[in-house]
C-alpha cells in the first residue's frame, strides 16, 4: 500500500473514530458532578496535549536527523510534524482557559504547567515565524531544526511541572469511572488517528512542494 492509500485509510479511520468519540462524549459519558458539562472538554483537551507532545518528539528526532545527515527529506518531515503539533498545542491552550473559566472562575493562572505550556507554544511560534519570513532555504532549515530541538526540552518540563512544583488548578492524578474511562480511550484513539492523518497529508504536501522547487531550480 502506497502513502496515498495509507493516508486515505487513516482519514477514514479518523472520521469513524471521531464520530464515535463525539457520540460517547455527549451521549454516553456521564456529566461530572462538581464541574458539570464543561468537564467534557477533557476528552479532547488531554488527547490533544498528548498528540502534541508525541508530534513534538517526532519533530525533535527529524530535526536531529536533518542536522546529522544533511538530508532535506528529514526537514520536510520535521516541518510537517511540527505544524500539526502546533495545531494540537493551540487547541490545548484555547480549550484550557475556557474550561478553567467555568471550573475555577479564571481564564488564566500563572502556574507552572500553564506557563511552561505557553512558553512551548511561543517557541513553536518562533519556529513558524522563522520559516515564514526567512528567505535563505538551507540556513532557515538548519536554524528551525535547532529551535525545534531546544523547544522539545520544554515538553518534559510541561509534563512534570505538577510533580516538581505543584499546581493550583491541575490535579496530580485523575480517577475516572468506567464510562468516562472508555470515552477517554476512544477519544484518545480518535485524536491520534486524526493527528496521524493530518501529519501524513501535511508530509505529502511538503514533499510535493519540495519536488516543485527542485524542478524550478534544475534547468
Amino acid at each position: 500500500m502506497n502513502l496515498r492509500n495509507w493516508t486515505r485509510a487513516l482519514w477514514a479511520l479518523a472520521v469513524a473514530l471521531n464520530g464515535a468519540a463525539l457520540y460517547m462524549v455527549f451521549f454516553y459519558a456521564p456529566v461530572e458532578m462538581q464541574m458539570g458539562a464543561v468537564q467534557k472538554i477533557f476528552y479532547y483537551h488531554v488527547p490533544s496535549a498528548i498528540s502534541g507532545y508525541v508530534l513534538m518528539f517526532l519533530a525533535f528526532v527529524f530535526s536531529v536527523l536533518y542536522l546529522w545527515k544533511d538530508d532535506p527529506s528529514y526537514d520536510v518531515l520535521a516541518h510537517a510534524t511540527a505544524e500539526v503539533a502546533f495545531l494540537f498545542i493551540t487547541i490545548v491552550l484555547i480549550t484550557g482557559p475556557i474550561w478553567g473559566r467555568s471550573a475555577w472562575g479564571k481564564w488564566w493562572v500563572w502556574e507552572p504547567r500553564l506557563t511552561s505550556a505557553l512558553i512551548l507554544w511561543l517557541m513553536y511560534s518562533a519556529y513558524f515565524l522563522l520559516r515564514l519570513f526567512s528567505r535563505h532555504e538551507v540556513r532557515t532549515a538548519r536554524i528551525a531544526a535547532v529551535v525545534a530541538i531546544i523547544a522539545f526540552f520544554d515538553v518534559p518540563i510541561v509534563h512534570m511541572a505538577i510533580t516538581w512544583w505543584g499546581s493550583i488548578v491541575h490535579p496530580k492524578k485523575v480517577v475516572l469511572e468506567p464510562a468516562m474511562r472508555q470515552t477517554f480511550f476512544v477519544s484518545m484513539a480518535a485524536v491520534f488517528a486524526l493527528a496521524g492523518a493530518l501529519t501524513l497529508t501535511r508530509w505529502a504536501v511538503g514533499r510535493a512542494e519540495e519536488r516543485r522547487l527542485a524542478q524550478e531550480v534544475s534547468p
Binding site: 464541574m35 458539570g36 458539562a37 464543561v38 468537564q39 467534557k40 472538554i41 479532547y44 483537551h45 490533544s48 495545531l87 493551540t90 487547541i91 484555547i94 480549550t95 475556557i98 474550561w99 473559566r101 467555568s102 471550573a103 486524526l194 493530518l198 497529508t201 501535511r202 505529502a204 504536501v205 510535493a208 512542494e209 516543485r212
Partner: protein, 50 residues
C-alpha cells in the same frame, strides 16, 4: 458578523450553567481542526495543479 458573534456569545459564555462553556470548547476544537484540514486540502490541490 456582529449578530453572529452576539449569538455565539449567547449560546456559549452567557449560558447560565456550564454547558455553554463546553459548547465554546468544542466549537473552538471543531473550528481549528476543520479549518486546518481545509487549509491542507486547498494547499494540496494548489500543489497538485501547479
Amino acid at each position: 458578523m456582529t449578530a453572529a458573534l452576539a449569538l455565539l456569545q449567547e449560546v456559549t459564555f452567557k449560558t447560565p450553567d456550564t454547558t455553554g462553556y463546553a459548547r465554546a470548547g468544542y466549537l473552538a476544537i471543531g473550528a481549528l481542526l476543520v479549518g486546518y484540514t481545509l487549509f491542507l486540502w486547498f494547499k494540496a490541490r494548489k500543489t497538485d495543479h501547479s
